[in-house]
């Protein structure tokens, strides 16, 4: 089956670091929205957006939590942008062992931005709503993508990984044993 082009909505938050004033309202709104029950607590250390801030070097960069990573980078870049030095970490969204950003303070489990997906949907993610200075702005745009040719069945994927781990023979034996119960 040949799939055609499909459309999807891509959600983006644009960050203008020159407009950031370091008020951290985005952090507070995020943590309140994701608290359970909702708005029950406002605690920046639980936020999925953090303003990387250095008053001495005039660095103000809001970053959103991305993927968890097990290991920190071996060697990092230092970027000079418009005469100011930034560590690579300043732009990195990873929940990573080298710093305690984007980890639940109680459990240490990684946090990840979910763009405030909720029912009913928010007009804009909370961090954007809380930003009075338009350092954060929200955009949705349509993007075309090619659908995968063949969608594999979930069970097929599961069996494949079991076979990979235990071997075909053992999986078949187990299945036959279970079927006799």
């Amino acid at each position: 089956m040949k799939a055609g082009l499909k459309k999807k909505i891509v959600k983006e938050i644009k960050v203008d670091v020159d407009k950031c004033t370091g008020c951290r309202s985005c952090e507070l709104a995020c943590s309140a929205f994701h608290a359970a029950p909702r708005y029950s607590s406002m605690n920046p250390s639980r936020s999925r957006i953090r303003v990387i801030m250095d008053e001495v070097r005039d660095v103000y960069v809001p970053i959103r939590a991305g993927e968890y990573t097990q290991a920190e980078c071996n060697g990092r870049n230092i970027y000079t942008i418009a005469g100011k030095e930034y560590s690579e970490c300043t732009f990195c969204p990873a929940s990573c062992p080298s710093r305690d950003y984007f980890k639940e303070p109680d459990s240490g489990l990684p946090l990840k931005c979910d763009m405030c997906e909720s029912v009913p949907p928010l007009p804009e993610p909370m961090c954007v709503q809380a930003c009075e200075f338009d350092a954060l702005t929200y955009e949705e745009r349509e993007e075309e993508y090619e659908e995968e040719e063949l969608k594999r069945d979930e069970m097929e994927i599961a069996f494949e990984s079991l076979i990979k781990k235990y071997g075909l023979k053992q999986v078949l034996q187990t299945a036959s044993r279970l079927s006799k119960r």
């Binding site: 370091g22 029950p37 607590s41 005039d58």
Partner: protein, 652 residues
Amino acid sequence: MRYAETGVNLEIDLSRGNIERVETDPRDMELYLGGQGTAAKILWDRVPPEVDPFSPDNLLIFSTGLLHATPVPAANRVAVNTFSPQTNLMSHSLMGGFFGPEMKHAGYDKIIIRGKAPDLVYLYIHDDTVEIRDATHLRGKGCTETGDILKKELKDDRVQVAAIGLAGENRVYTASIDHGHSSAARGVGVIMGDKRLKAIAVRGTKDIHVAKPAELFELCMHMHQQIGGSDGCGDWMAVDEDDSFHHDNFAWGNARTRRRGFWSKELEERWRRLKYDHMDRQTSCYNCPKKCRNVISWPGRKRFGYKCYGKDTYHMAAFKELDFTYDILGVAQEYGLDSYSTPQVMAFALELYENGILTDKDLPGLPADSGDRFFYLMEKIVRREGIGDILANGVSLAAQQIGNGAEKYDHNTIKRFEQLPIKLGKLNPPYFLMIATGEKMAITQIEGSFPQDPLPTMEERQAFVDKWEAVPNEKFKQYFLEWEKRNDISNEASCAITDWNEAMHYIDDSIGLCGFVSSFRGQFGGEIAYHINNIPDFLTLATGVDMTKDKLWECFQRIRTLVRANNVRRGMRRKDERPPEDHWAVRDEAFEQKLLDDYYAFKGWNKEGVPTRETLDKLGLSYVSEDFLRRGILADTEKNPATETSVESEKK
């Protein structure tokens, strides 16, 4: 469960190296709110008047406001209180930024420092981990430099640091405590230095609970937008470059020379370019939708931030222009110097030199240029070197020490504290009262709700009062409508206006709100975000205590009276409540003293300015009245036979 507050104070004894977490009495929150209010109670309870400010028994208290770390926008100002060696009275100091909310997330409403460390230490707090650590490697480091070093050492850029610079280390009386580009002024850095505490680094990750979270959050999101979009909030000087008000009306030099017509369009344009050519950005404090701080990079200097009138003090004292302030302010802030008091000390010294009271012997190698002279004096003061050792004690004490007629040049202090250099023609009666009786030491910490000047026409006044939501009472609208000439206003109105102005500051400084969205800013335009009519709603939702306007007003009265009690017990009386003699050109002693009598009576204080027993007992401060009676500060005029007998029988 405690709402809005953590219910825990951190007690640090630097002499013994002891660290304790002490649970607080929940009733204190209902009576004194938090921040400066509860700090005044602790100072009353634990620092008797015999304790010298430099004694290890003096306390240095960092207090979060009751609403810190709740969703309430612009609640971020930390109160720092102690007893000052300059005034021997209670120091009143505040700083914005991020320190207070971080403290609270670490689990503490207050950090209470007593004792003295044998050598420089810093305090490290990360939630339950609290350590007193060696800070000898930070000796002589600048304030923001110290913060920067500690963040690197601790490998944590979320740590919030409050530090002293060289001035605090050397116990300069006008030393401040600085946190990033925020500064706690008015006499607290000296005590931090005396306790050998270089810095506090705090990091907190705990939750703060509020009573009605969802309702409060909704109300706060609305308030956030309202403040963000309002011209009636924030520092207008961040955006309006017309600063003719200060330059044409305030006195230059040692509060001496008024330069009317100094300001011009040409100057404004030149200074505008100077600012925007060197400004990196404007920044905010925690959870505030205003950006009042201007961050400046000046060639050859460290980056610094300032707000409001802070950009004027140095160049006006030195008869220079804005480029001079930009050159010196960052250096002074790294040293940790109060940028309101310190320039006045320097201008005072130069006036003494010009008048032959200080000579080349006192100021060897003094440069010719006034700006160079300021740098020269600054270096002497922060090191307490030569004449700097005397000047470091502030204008009033330095004048006494120098003698030889120097006292005459100490013409702009009250209660031994440097005032804003305002020398006007005719008396403004509420200002007379605020300057005379204020105990927050600077007029900016007292004025703020009622406009400074009347509006010229009845139509304008009517339009102003029609949208004036902040008034506690309709009578203030009447006062404003009837007010035509600045100096012509009834004593009754002057008393009520002073009281209202003070009330909002005492409330703000206890709950942690910034004056630019509350107590200070309403005087300009009247459209202020927080006021006596809506603050109770925020407090009720946050604390779960049913707060009403009347109850909140009573809290103000209680806190204000307790601050006065602390100072009265240390000797403050009516004689100290005299604004500088040249503060206004036209004076009327009889009128002023009658006004002061009326105000004392209005406040429930006796002729000496001491709160009466009745006033104290009514506010639940009978522990104060008992102390006053015991010490003979109040006479036992209403002798109670029952108590007399019991005392007698005890003796037997």
